[in-house]
Symmetry: none
Subunit: 211 residues, 2 copies
DNA sequence: CTCCTTTTTAAAGTATACCTTAATAATTAT
DNA sequence: ATAATTATTAAGGTATACTTTAAAAAGGAG
């Protein structure tokens, strides 16, 4: 298993999470390689029994298991980097990307223990091994990019959060469009019923959406 | 800078620390590649201004700086793995080996800060950036005579040696007295906390001590 | 100063993961 | 249904870091 294969598995997983068409071209775009390169790599992954390929490319059971392992490592590192080393939201992904590939199963387990088995990474994504009965389908406002439209379908039951949402007059089932993403602090500007509202990074991961 | 180049720089540094002849053959042996491969790689490193090559291969200033940076990363990770994740002495090197190559300068600094700027890694090797005026060399247990007392302050990163030390329960910073020296096979009997332990000749040269 | 061993270089080949260019196949639009 | 677009495969090439085998160079022993 090489770093590269791991990156391909992750991107297949992520594209299907976003309900995007998972084909060689989209994978190529996401990984910033040519379609030819991704096509070639996918053939290898197919031969190794990690992906199925009909119309849509999907992960096999074995492939999914490996992907979740990698994502767990990634998310544990993000948790560590933010909680213990004071990394900021915007810089953590890049570093976790490097570390995940250098993480043995033993290190993963020990780090998990050290972090006290977190159920979610700082971006709100679930950490599989610690959330046996949750599914990774819930998307939060964190996953949104400029131009995306979404509907707010659920918020966590945090009183302060609810007060905050009241104060900016954002309600459940509101439809909105992302008009700006601030890469410094991770906040989003959204447009709801013609009105622009600011959502801080902290709030984003509490807002469950439908796209 | 690739992982491989980093490994070559480290091995050049380590061989010269041990006062061994630093040539393409010894490097090849240490890295478990053929002399041809190492010879080829050394040519690249020479062209990149990282090593000098006369009789003995040495690091240039630039090469030394890079090597110390890598060793710092390695030793910080060892410290973290042992102090916070409960890794054992013998298994920590392998994991730090992987992590060091995935460590940005920023991560190095933050980890250093988190660990409170340790002067030495758990093996006793200095962490350069935190010990401006120390030198990375000392006496080994080979220099000891009967009656000498000493403190074990550093051991070489040999996996078998580390397992051996784990097995006889000899730890870093243990104080001991030499109670016998076997002139036939060069082994030493030492007394640590009232217990007699045998150190074979082969082990002695790997044990750095303070007298 | 030869002989012999060790060391280095040269030549050609392997695997991985890319690339470009060009051809084929499959969608989508008119 | 045909044209246009998009996706995939095929063919040949690049770079890195190895490999083997063989030749050349350098050192050490008698």
């Amino acid at each position: 298993m090489t770093n590269n294969r791991e990156d391909y598995l992750k991107i297949i997983y992520k594209l299907s999470q976003k309900n995007k068409v998972v084909n060689s071209s989209n994978i190529a775009k996401a990984l910033n390689v040519t379609p030819t390169s991704s096509s070639e790599m996918l053939k290898k992954l197919r031969n190794e029994g990690l992906v199925n390929q009909d119309k849509n490319i999907t992960l096999t059971d074995k492939g999914l298991e490996m992907t979740q392992d990698i994502l767990t490592k990634h998310r544990l590192w993000e948790t560590f980097l933010i909680q213990y080393l004071g990394f900021s939201w915007s810089e953590v992904d890049e570093q976790a990307e490097l570390l995940e590939h250098a993480t043995s199963d033993k290190l993963k387990e020990r780090l998990n223990e050290f972090l006290n088995f977190p159920k979610h990474c700082p971006h709100g994504s679930i950490i599989f091994e610690n959330t046996k009965n949750e599914i990774d389908t819930t998307k939060t406002a964190l996953d949104l990019e400029v131009g995306d439209s979404a509907k707010l379908i659920k918020v966590s039951q945090d009183k302060d959060l609810l007060l905050y949402l009241d104060s900016i007059n954002l309600k459940l089932n509101d439809d909105f469009v992302v008009v700006n993403k601030n890469n410094f602090d991770g906040s989003l500007s959204i447009k709801v019923n013609g009105e622009i509202k600011e959502l801080s990074f902290k709030a984003l991961k509490e807002l469950v959406i439908l796209t």
